[in-house]
Symmetry: C2
Subunit: 253 residues, 2 copies
């Protein structure tokens, strides 16, 4: 049995806030504490705010390209400019939507640049520079303060082709493998499962979203009772790198 | 708090099996029972088997097109033929992979045709003909026998562009809305959330996968404590229809 525990009562996060302390205090305030094997799922918004990954629109000078595109679709050219700066490559630019590849390799709307979750109007929130490193740092700090080994997943809300609605997925993780692989194992009917690899970090992020909602100010959830796959022994810090499909195996670039 | 309860000990399902009875018996055998507001997540494999949605390879006569494609990539032409028959449209046919749109509108590998979960070698398992109807029937039968109102999600394992690994998503649902919409609501910072629609049925399917695994013979999970969105009053039986992104809004067809 798995339980998903919302962590409530966290304050609005500010740059340089001590996220691990706030997480542990909020958990303690609801009479709980981290246990070995828990997965702490934390929204990227919270991490970005603590890391000061914000841009003030008034300080952005849009390029001519951003200006033209924005004008065409009634967008703020400064917002478009920031999206372009956060992008490594534009995958689609159509009907006022920008689907971009971020420097992490994630493909998502607006390269993850978000106005709706910023603390102030006129401010944009960017994805963490290195969400896997953020996850490792959080995991290390939690272990240092509690002596407990947990996995950490940093989640963001992404759309996807073909299916309506967004889901939360993992953009950073530490202490676990993002993928659970059944390659070469045999199912109960005796079939060799040749190609089953489950993106469990994404499923954990999505499961946590069910207690987070968007309006409840629940930026952290603890998933308890899930025997997550151990990180690869030779690359223990690979984080979400294996979740990024390499271009040569992707039919939809 | 949400709990995800694996339902173990179900027998290998055969055509015309009484799925609701088996589900309730297995749940009772582990000292549990359905409660109002539970979500029963059931794999499509189980539903397909109960509905007899299998094809024997030896009874399939491949077309010339299937034959040529299969030969080129070392596939079984009869398997390819069944994939084509289950497809409404082929989205990509490349490097030995077929990404197809099913008659339900889902876009997935091999139109959901699966050899690995069939009960016997030489047998293919197809998706249910109408998974939303299957979900409604299961929900109705569960209510009839227990007096308890639950939601039902039928899950399948899909890949996705850009991200490695598969996740479980909803291909059928009943008793709930597949989407939770925050359109027009205001977040804690006072921003109007203009376009946040979460595919909660997919997140429920993914969450359930975490207790199912592939090898544990856990084809059912009960998600307890999630206040799922009520079905739309005017279209209570729309099921997963809103999850299918309409072509005109899809940049990746």
């Amino acid at each position: 049995m798995i339980t998903i525990i919302p962590v409530r009562g966290l304050p609005e996060i500010r740059p340089a806030d001590d996220l691990p302390r706030q997480l542990l205090e909020a958990l303690a305030a609801q009479g709980d504490e981290l246990r070995p094997g828990d997965v702490a799922v934390v929204t990227s918004k919270m991490v970005s705010k603590a890391e000061g990954r914000t841009v003030l629109l008034e300080e952005v000078m849009p390029s001519a390209f951003a200006e033209e595109w924005a004008t065409r679709f009634g967008k703020d050219p400064r917002h478009v400019e920031v999206v372009l700066r956060e992008s490594r490559r534009l995958v689609r630019m159509d009907r006022g939507l920008i689907i971009a590849e971020t420097r992490h390799g994630f493909i998502c709307a607006n390269a993850g640049v978000d106005a709706s979750n910023a603390a102030r109007a006129g401010e944009l929130l960017l994805l963490p520079v290195d969400p896997d490193a953020s996850a490792r740092a959080l995991r290390g700090a939690l272990r240092e303060r509690t002596g407990v080994d947990v996995a950490v997943v940093i989640s963001d809300t992404f759309g996807r082709p073909w299916r309506t609605g967004q889901t939360n997925v993992a953009i950073g993780c530490a202490g676990m493998s993002a993928l659970r692989t059944y390659l070469g194992e045999v199912d109960p009917a005796g079939h060799l499962l040749v190609a089953t690899t489950i993106a469990v970090a994404d499923e954990l992020a999505g499961a946590a979203e069910l207690v987070m909602g968007k309006l409840d100010r629940v930026p952290v959830a603890v998933v308890r009772g899930y025997a997550y796959p151990a990180p690869a022994a030779d690359v223990p810090d690979e984080g979400t790198v294996p979740l990024v499909r390499q271009a040569e195996f992707d039919l939809f670039r």
